[in-house]
Amino acid sequence: MGLPGLVCIISYRFRREEGPPSAVDVIKQISQRYGSACSMVEDGIRVRLGSSDVYIIGIDEDDCQIFLAAVGSLKSDAYQTLSMEEQKTYDGQIGQFTELLPDNPLSMFTVRIGWAGELGEAQDLLQRYLNQAERSIRSVGVVHGCLLATILEKEDTVGISKPLRRELILLPLGRGLPEATRTVWGLYGEMASLASYAGRLNDFRVGHDLILKQIDASEQSTQVRINEISLEMRKPIGQVKPESLEGVLREVITLFSNLSILSSAMRRDYVKAGVLLRLTKRMFRAWNEEALAQYSTNSLIETGIYEEMISPFKDFINRVDALRIQLNTILDAVRTYLGIQQQRLSIEEQASSKDQLIRLVNLQEILHKLEILIVAVYITEMARIVFEVLAHEMANLLTALFIPLALLTAIGISRILHRKH
């Protein structure tokens, strides 16, 4: 095929294990529909539609499936004029094929092509088309010797809607048609990769949008609860009951576990998205796009958009981590509280043991005294028996006189007995 007038690049999420039809299968289904008007070419199909040719190829990558449909004149030496009329015809023709592709694409890049001898002519051609289409330029630059312009979306939905749409105008400058055709086809290959990377990046962002939107309300609500717990923890130690600490611990662990899962999942996706961002940046660096007049280059604007797509991931991680740090502080406070309470209990226990010991010593002393009295009573009784035998009439008097001696003897016996202890 020569220089096409319109190219449509559409990418899809593709996971072989989920069993979607392969790109080859999809193209075969399309070819069956067009019968004899369709012919197989090396990596796709070619369909003849009136005076136009439509060329369709499909590629399966690891995570992405890409289809490229190009429409142009049958003549290989045809120059594209970028007229509104011509572009409308191509839109209709290519639309017949894109309708047959699967639903729910990741990205749709439409590239309109014209041919210009030199830069001034290209700028005039571009301006004429924009005036006719009532559109304006978002960014423009020169890539591989071609003027590449991105048209501003009618609605400002860049980066937050699916599929990611781009409408571009490509005008090869100052070269012969065969060389221009080769350059343009080379750029399509790069744009197909870009459609895949950018589509997947956008899908990441769209897929996480609801969760990212939650951060404000969820963070606020969690922060309020953390503040309440912190206030509770500021009470004097004696006023914080162990049951209340247990409740705090349970709550904090629930929150902490939720936040840890969220943070690690978001970090994982941020890293994945970061890989795609690096690939797009590498491609833009290879473009080495030259700026034109007062316009921003395509690569500068696109890189900015893709960086903005993934920056909320990083913000989310930072905000969740900030909450986790606060929860860690609370956990430390709970631990400190428990430590202090344990220390207090231990001091109280020690004081209580000392009292008990004093009471035991006192008791032992009383027992000793009782022991002496009992022994003295026994000695006195034995002495009475002896006195009654020896001096019956004076037994009572002698017994009474013997009592101090019995006491002294009992004290002596007690000391001898307790000396060993």
């Binding site: 404000d216 309300a217 609500s221």
Partner: protein
Amino acid sequence: MSISLPGDWFVNPQVLADFYHRYKDRPPDEIKKFSYDQGLSLSKKLIDELGIKGNDERAIAELLRAVLRDEPTAKIISIAEGKVLLRNSGFCPLMTACLSLNLPWAWLCENLGWPFFHGLASSVNPKVNLSLIKRRAKGDPYCDHLFEIGEGRLILP
């Protein structure tokens, strides 16, 4: 094969993932009924344990507080005649599971979360309606669950 789900599903993302992958192709009404019954059975146990009496809004609120005692950001916002408004504004455990294991958030809420809560409240009063006034899975900043004595329906926006 009957539907089964461990009781700790609301705190265990892996349980939710296993459940989704096993039953995602089953009719939604079957899963909703299962989840409703699970809520019903849990609340019957709690009502006995806590000695909750009556079938009015206060009894419903008491039960919800008991179920959500470990979910610090779920709060009962108002109790009016025949109505209890429960708001969950924190980081939703279902949302966390969906993000970490790439599960469809809306599917889990519609088939598992809300029928479970409806079952919980229905144990107190079988005529209670549950309306989801706000839903985080649709972009609202929080989920508002309105329990209202009515015809015993689960009403999604």
